[in-house]
Symmetry: C2
Subunit: 424 residues, 2 copies
Amino acid sequence: MASVNPPRGMRDFLPADKARRERVLAVIRERYRAHGFDEIETPVMEDYDRLHAGIGGDNEKLSFSILKRGMDADAIRAAADDPAALADLGLRYDLTVPLARFYATNRAQLPTVFRAIQMAPVWRAERPQKGRYRQFLQCDIDIIGDGTARAEAELMVASLDVLDTLGLEGGSIRVNDRRVLDAMLDVFGFAAEERPGVLITIDKLDKVGPSGVVAELRERGAAVEAVDALAAYLDRPAGTPTFDDAGIRAALPAGIPDEVVAHLVALGETVAAARGADAPLVFDPFLVRGMGYYTGTIFELAHPSVDYSLGGGGRYDGMIGRFLGQQVPAVGFSIGFERIVDLLPDADAAGERSVVLVHDRDVPLAQLLALKSHLVEGGARVRVEQRAKNMKALLERSAADGYGAFAPVGVGTTPETLELRPLS
Amino acid sequence: MASVNPPRGMRDFLPADKARRERVLAVIRERYRAHGFDEIETPVMEDYDRLHAGIGGDNEKLSFSILKRGMDADAIRAAADDPAALADLGLRYDLTVPLARFYATNRAQLPTVFRAIQMAPVWRAERPQKGRYRQFLQCDIDIIGDGTARAEAELMVASLDVLDTLGLEGGSIRVNDRRVLDAMLDVFGFAAEERPGVLITIDKLDKVGPSGVVAELRERGAAVEAVDALAAYLDRPAGTPTFDDAGIRAALPAGIPDEVVAHLVALGETVAAARGADAPLVFDPFLVRGMGYYTGTIFELAHPSVDYSLGGGGRYDGMIGRFLGQQVPAVGFSIGFERIVDLLPDADAAGERSVVLVHDRDVPLAQLLALKSHLVEGGARVRVEQRAKNMKALLERSAADGYGAFAPVGVGTTPETLELRPLS
């Protein structure tokens, strides 16, 4: 037991970090709850088979498996040819697979339109790198049982409210629809079987630009005329389309089904009505998003202070049916908790409501705890520290931990003679 | 994928349950924080070797192990003779082993006296039975770096405050000291090597009574004269000893070291000073508590409404040293979160601040979400439901989910014409 590090790619959270995380979680929980979402919780584990049923995409390969208990030597030897036999359970790699299972299990006790909040850790055995961890928190909201644009609108309005409440005003949402992408690729002339690969390349548009996308598609040997059509379209004078019928139609080639455009237009109108005049939606016909299970609207939360997204989601009408044996529409959004936490400052010190009692060594325990209780009962948060040689370090650490005041305590100090002094 | 149940012995939490759990957690977090404890978090996994180093007692055998990733057939075959080679990590079975590791990792960044809160799930592969689960939440507070009775007193005062705040006033704490037990067994004449077994039997005193304990000890073949001495002592006219020097000494046979009694007396005085006149401590010289790592004071939280404990803890001065290579005193308390949640009622409905909008099918989405936003911005929690054939069921479920009012919404309903009606 030489090393005392946490497992590879996983983090300890010290008091200041943990306090900030819990503060953000409390805001997310409270705001989503106000918007009619109900928090649920599932176990961290699901059946191995369910986690490897093809819904999780690449994440399935990254999942941690739980060793079957009570295997004897023969059973282990037999598993050499079938490693899956070593595990009966696994840790979830996202919150969507567990939600689909939860809904199938508990449907009878849930409202017809079920609005779920989940805020919980997930695990992926990725190669650790800066900003990427093997255990991290996901905060998802999902609406199951509503196929109209109201569902997307509720997710968006609630999530913008969360950002506003956290002091991150000015958020906007990039929106597209998987059916738009599919229809566009069809219009350009890509065959159905090459479209998934083409989408993977288009997904890099933000990083490599139009010429990079076109070059990669040519390299991959995608249909030449289709690539030409796409290149010409990417080359068009674009501007930012307005999020209404005219704007969305103008941003698309001819041949996109009316009902898809109508769904997007209804979404824009609904978000605008909910937010007052301002609907911070941006139509982006080349937004792809990775997961294979999306079937309709897809969207990403953006904020002017950062060039990466602060969350994303989409409609996945097919998935619940795989568990339930009956189609149920669903749409979800995952707010980027870990990224948002990193953007926010530490809490301000809480002033005289947050006090460190610094006592001389000879102060009787009973006197000390009576003083502490007096302050706690008065509504304060109180830490007790014995006077140290290095008082500067002690006071600095207290300030870093969110304390705003300190008070020296000697033999005989009473609540009446206690003197609070500001800490920083 | 026929079954949609959560894994064996694990639970889904539906909205009402989850809300109640989060409400209790928020109180525990807030009160412990007020008493100067700082919340931390560790990963759910620790190194396999650390979890199986003998600190966890019987829980080590119940731990879930994480299958090593990337094992080939040969490696699996080789593991047939050494199943531990299949796992490099495991899920924690308590919060004490991770805390000791955390402290060793992060000591330089922590206060000299570190008061930790941990509220997090643990996993044990126990045979599922009523009230016992394979994933459950533990809420621990620990004080590392303080060997005085102040540490125990702070744990106790803060935990009694949690109970009071949750509406469970009248809690009390049974207290003993491992050194009391050890000295008593020595006085009675039990040899050092038979004492651990004798303690296991004495731990059943509450269940089987004095005659049951004596019978089991005779059956086990414990030293005859020692059992006679214990039997005579158990047979004494007891009464409840007062928690002071005279009371504690009177409750014990002669020969208990003075410093042990002094630690208990100081604890009583300190808790009394912190709580005002009232120190709800009960000295119980036969309280044992299971974990082998306790070295000093041990205690259990009791409440008149139930005949089981609502938490327990003790001093474990030896454990941190095993990770740190340097002795550091430590004492911890685990409040019985799962038991406390079961004791508390559901939240009261939140009245007109918690509203279900029941809309006709033809209400435009934009109108509906504008109404919803109007209420949310006014501070309400709002759920949207389409009018159902069975309105009674819809309204009952809304009330069960904590909504206090509903309002019908038709085409043209505005914030001004919206009529709130009580839900129950």
